[in-house]
């Protein structure tokens, strides 16, 4: 494998709870090539969400280096890291996390407000993203007016609107019924195959993991 898009070297992470130090990840080394669809599986508490958070730059390791698209994210300051996330990461949460007072359109437009795009260009991006997830007819709906599956599709549209380098998804089907989950997985599959998005997916669901090219298992903070 040459020039992996995501490169983790001896990454360790531990949390402190009062006087206790709880190790979560230990000596993780991982390469993810561009265009990969990687599924991370493992039991609860195995550290898969923490690993995803580290790759997405929303958490910092205690040890090791994380290089994404040529940037060592562990060396970035808070402000630089925020800009880096805006440019490179699209995050899909288990519970969608849409802003309830904003419409589907406005939710998808949110990350674009951080870009130098004009209003017309933003509109084009939002329309394309919502069209891609099949919600062109729901642009003016608020999250409370959408089903869980539709909310998650809006969340995916928000994640891809700014055309990020990597799409990270933390249990994106965990809160959905079977049919909605299938739609979301198909959508992720399509984003990977048609648009060559590099995807890192955390899931408990073996069925969901089957959509990925590669599945890695975590157990007690170590990659198997």
């Amino acid at each position: 494998m040459t020039n992996p898009l995501i490169q983790l070297r001896q990454v360790s992470k531990a949390y402190r709870r009062d006087s206790l130090t709880i190790p979560v990840l230990q000596g993780i080394t991982l390469d993810v090539p561009e265009g990969e669809f990687l599924a991370l599986m493992g039991p609860s508490g195995s550290g898969k969400t923490t690993l995803l958070n580290l790759i997405a730059g929303i958490d910092r390791p205690n040890q090791g280096t994380i290089t994404v698209a040529g940037t060592d994210v562990t060396k970035l300051g808070e402000s630089e890291l925020a800009k880096w996330r805006a440019r490179h990461i699209g995050f899909v949460f288990q519970f969608y996390n849409l802003i309830p007072v904003l419409t589907a359109y406005e939710n998808v437009e949110l990350p674009l407000l951080l870009t130098p795009l004009s209003k017309a260009e933003r509109r084009q991006h939002v329309t394309t993203a919502l069209g891609l997830v099949g919600l062109s007819d729901r642009v003016h709906h608020y999250p409370r007016q959408l089903s869980g599956g539709q909310e998650q599709r809006v969340a995916i549209a928000r994640a891809i609107a700014a055309d990020p380098t990597i799409l990270v998804a933390d249990e994106p089907t965990g809160d959905l019924d079977r049919q909605s989950a299938e739609e979301v997985l198909t959508l992720l599959d399509r984003l990977n195959k048609e648009f060559h998005k590099t995807i890192v997916l955390v899931t408990h669901d073996p069925h969901a993991a089957q959509r990925a090219h590669t599945t890695r298992h975590l157990d007690k903070g170590e990659l198997q």
Binding site: S79, F91, F93, N97, I99, P111, L113
Partner: protein, 388 residues
């Protein structure tokens, strides 16, 4: 979609809570505005004082008269360009327990007094009529309107300092040259007072309550004061000559404890505004900690989050402030109408509006500071774990 749109949507996410907060702030601002206006009204006499007028009174107290004959000696002092005199009359009109029946009444020298007070604008024909009739009086526009007095009406009142029944014919109605002028006073001829007292109470002296001096140039006031007072140091009625501003201030300072208390209360009210607003903002931000973590995940930085929170706090604070200021006007008007004698010049000054809105805005900024710091410091991972 811009920051303001998000701020606006967030502010009215819980409409009832926001509405109650705005009402709470408005009520506090209303109280703040009213108190500041009362303090300003209390000082209205001081504010409206002329820069070139001085008052000469008995050194011991204003209640002791000064001999009228002293006027000749005072008028000769270099710098004194004009002189008049007046007496506080008092008197009771109608039901004495009704506030609106109280207004200031002065016996004044008809020929000179209005020359020294150009801010009391009297139509020339009315002033002439006033000078020609011994028991004529001139009323302020407000007091005339309040009681429906018209030219030619006879006002009857009971004297207290000068006992007996007194009758005055309304021959003039003055209005103020500008809004700061008291339009609730009544002036009648000093000669009428003198003659009546002589008839009713033979042996009682009627002298001047105080002299009013016009000083030219105004810079000569310290010298005039020193000269006048030194001339009467060893007389039976030693004098105290001071600027009109100082004279008025001496009345206000008698109630300085009340004014200080009111000022302290107005500061307490600012604290109440802050607490009302802080309570709402802290609750709102706590509920949205997870959303702010999501925004940070998307790439929004601390300054963006701060703009959302401060924007919301400012919006709610200023909405309450504006509503409070708007409501202050009718309240002050009603207050002035209810107590015309106590607050002849009561109006909401621009500085009061600035202070009220400034207090609301500052409270907004202060209320947003702590929640903003907390949210900005909270890590994304911890923020995402929060359940609002």
């Amino acid at each position: 979609m811009r920051v303001f749109k998000i701020v606006l949507r967030n502010a009215f996410r819980h409409r009832l809570r926001t509405a109650l907060t705005i009402l709470g702030i408005a009520t506090a601002v209303l109280a703040f505005g009213l108190i500041r206006t009362i303090v300003t009204a209390w000082n209205a006499g001081v504010t409206a004082s002329a820069a070139n007028r001085m008052i000469t009174r008995h050194r011991v107290s204003i209640i002791f008269p000064v001999p009228l004959v002293d006027r000749t000696q005072i008028a000769r002092v270099p710098g004194v360009a004009g002189l008049s005199w007046a007496n506080w009359f008092g008197g009771v009109y109608g039901n004495s327990s009704d506030f609106k029946n109280f207004w200031p009444r002065f016996a004044v020298d008809a020929n000179t007094y209005f020359d020294l007070y150009p801010e009391f604008v009297v139509p020339p024909d009315q002033l002439e009529a006033f000078k020609k009739e011994r028991n004529a009086c001139i009323l302020g526009r407000k007091v005339a309107a309040e009681h429906g007095f018209k030219l030619g009406d006879v006002i009857t009142m009971e004297g207290d300092i000068y006992p007996g029944e007194w009758q005055f014919v309304v021959r003039g109605i003055y209005h103020g040259r500008d809004p700061s002028v008291d339009e609730t006073q009544m002036f009648f001829q000093w000669d009428y007072l003198y003659e009546q007292v002589k008839q009713r109470e033979p042996g009682r002296n009627t002298d001047a309550g105080f002299f009013v001096l016009r000083v030219d140039p105004p810079g000569a006031m310290p010298k005039v004061s020193a000269t006048v007072d030194s001339e009467f140091t060893n007389s039976s009625a030693p004098t105290k000559t001071e600027s009109e501003r100082e004279f008025q201030q001496s009345f206000v300072s008698m109630s300085s404890a009340i004014i200080t208390s009111l000022k302290v209360i107005s500061l307490v009210i600012v604290g109440i505004i802050l607490l009302v607003l802080a309570n709402t903002i802290v609750m709102a931000v706590r509920e949205r900690t997870r959303e702010y973590a999501v925004l940070k995940t998307l790439g929004f930085q601390g300054r963006h989050i701060a703009a959302f929170i401060f924007g919301e706090a400012l919006l709610i604070g200023l909405a309450g402030g504006v509503l409070g200021v708007v409501l202050t006007f009718p309240l002050v008007r009603a207050f002035g109408l209810a107590l015309p004698g106590f607050f002849p010049v009561i109006r909401v000054e621009p500085i009061t509006i600035v202070f009220a809105l400034g207090a609301a805005a500052l409270s907004g900024l202060a209320a947003g500071a702590l929640p903003t710091a907390r949210v900005v410091r909270t890590s994304i991972v911890n923020g995402l774990r929060m359940i609002g």
